[in-house]
């Protein structure tokens, strides 16, 4: 039935184009000068591709700063938040699932429910806490809130993995004299490297893509890229420079898209567990 195959591929290619089209249009627009955007067609390829808009988006122009500084901010927020939340989540998941502690299930249930709490509900008390610690508007403050809001997800990921590890392994390690941390470091860590990779990839993506926490807890000096992008697009005076907006958008999207493209299956594996996280 070859005609069915033709229809099948036709449908798939159409769907793929529909998904890709906005990204391609955005890329092509970012390479056009403003005059061409005003007069030309959205779908037309750039006639004289120029990287000027990209340069403006990165370096800024005149008084308005570019994204370069904000990129650094985002990395300074994301990297420590990533290390801390994955480390803490791994230890917590390990302790929860392999040590048969009393109330471990209760804590796990409390964490799992926490995954669904809309951040708006706990936002204001968190502001008060961070302010009390003197960290409001600073990069460490943002790291802290990302760790708090990321912990439930990472713990869930590791707990579900360690749940499938036979408890005999812990017993064997104990007979060999390994304690809590030694068992984790020498036995569990090597076993769970794939889960680590999944956790790192997804936490990177979520933290980089966060907007609400960045909006709430950052100041001008610690603003992450997503907030900067929204400000750039929302608050330009006079005519919107769409080519600069598109170039900025692509710059902001690039790190997580690259991580996704290079991580392949690991991203897919974690995304189901992480889907509950906005």
């Amino acid at each position: 039935m070859p005609y069915q195959r033709v229809v099948l591929y036709l449908l798939l290619v159409t769907a793929a184009l529909a998904v890709l089209a906005p990204i391609l249009i955005m890329a092509s627009t970012s390479l056009k000068p403003m005059a061409e955007i005003r007069d030309g067609n959205l779908f037309a390829l750039p006639q004289a591709p120029t990287l000027e808009a990209w340069s403006t988006a990165w370096h800024g122009r005149g008084g308005s700063g570019g994204l370069a500084d904000k990129f650094l901010n985002s990395f300074f927020i994301v990297i420590p938040a990533l290390v801390l939340s994955v480390g803490l989540g791994a230890i917590t998941g390990y302790a929860l699932s392999l040590w048969r502690l009393r109330h471990a299930n209760l804590l796990f249930a409390a964490l799992l429910i926490g995954l669904f709490i809309p951040p708006q509900v706990t936002l204001y008390p968190m502001i008060l806490l961070v302010r009390e610690l003197g960290l409001f508007g600073t990069v460490p403050g943002l790291v802290l809130v990302h760790v708090v809001w990321g912990l439930a997800f990472v713990t869930l990921l590791f707990r579900n993995f360690f749940q499938s590890v036979p408890a005999d392994l812990v017993k064997a390690a104990r007979i060999d004299g390994a304690g809590f941390l030694a068992t984790f470091w020498y036995v569990m860590l090597p076993l769970s490297l794939p889960v680590f990779a999944v956790a790192v990839i997804l936490q990177f993506t979520y933290t980089w893509n966060d907007f609400l926490l960045g909006l709430t807890f950052s100041s001008r000096d610690s603003q992450p890229v997503t907030v900067a992008l929204n400000n750039l697009v929302a608050s330009q005076f006079g005519e919107q420079e769409y080519n600069v907006n598109m170039a900025a958008t692509m710059l902001v999207a690039l790190p997580t898209v690259l991580v996704y493209l290079f991580s392949g299956r690991l991203f897919v594996r974690g995304i189901a567990a992480g889907a509950v996280k906005g």
Binding site: V19, M26, L112, G177, Y186, A253, V257, A272
Partner: protein, 313 residues
Amino acid sequence: MSHAEPSPALLTAADREAPRPRRRLSPATAARIALIPATVITVVCFYAFIAWTFVISLTRSRLLPVYDFVGFDQYRRLFANARWWTAMENLAIHGTLFIVGCTLAGYALAILIDRGVRAESVFRTIFMLPLSMSFIVTGVIWQWLLNPTFGIQDAVRDLGWTDFVFNWIVRQDRAIYTLAIAGVWQQVGLCMALFLAGLRGIDPNIWKATRVDGIPTWRVYLHIITPMLRPVFFTVVVLLAALVMKAFDLVVALTGGGPGFASDLPARFVVDHILNRQELGLGAAGAFMMLCTIAAVIAPYLYVELRKSRGGR
């Protein structure tokens, strides 16, 4: 990474390290200590903070928290607030369109891919690509595509269809629908991945049996496979519902809640009242209502999940 070795080598490594006589703590105590940070975060930052927000929703707090209790006045004000009801109505419209659209499109794509196509991973990668971008990026892209003067409307008019109209994003009565367009575009890959995993888990013998019986493929999907995937549908809908409730970034970047408050959502209402409008008490009441709404949707899912994980061991 030296510890990625096979396990016999690992145990020797453990042997080498372990005999040092410095274990003052019993392992179980160490495990309990390791749980302290998570416990503190859970108890304080999740549950105590929820309780605090509830308490504040019972007070007159405006710019700053004050503990001057007024009963359920803030809830009364909330329920008399037209903008809140617009936001709730929008949540229902957007939620329905987004969940139905994503589920159907995701399931359709999963079925197409599952028919054994070449370059399967290319298609999968493309469909999931938007998933790696932030809601802000998605919102900015679609805000521009839907802009009547520069976006799709203008482009189609240029092609010769001069009275083509697609200006939903600037219309009071249509702006909310644009959220679903952008939302489905971004999240369809997630549904596809979940459904594809479900389809791959179907016993191949079922397919053999239906072939022997000569049942047409579409009927197999409709009457046999789809009912078998009921748990996957359940998971997908719950996950999407949780996403919809929290939807904040997308509406901020795409429509800014406008025109006016025509495409406002509860999450944006709450943030706006707490951070910008100095209506802490009212915002807290809104936040608590959000929590109640999400609880109603999530409770059955959590019940199933937690029972499953308890039975697992």
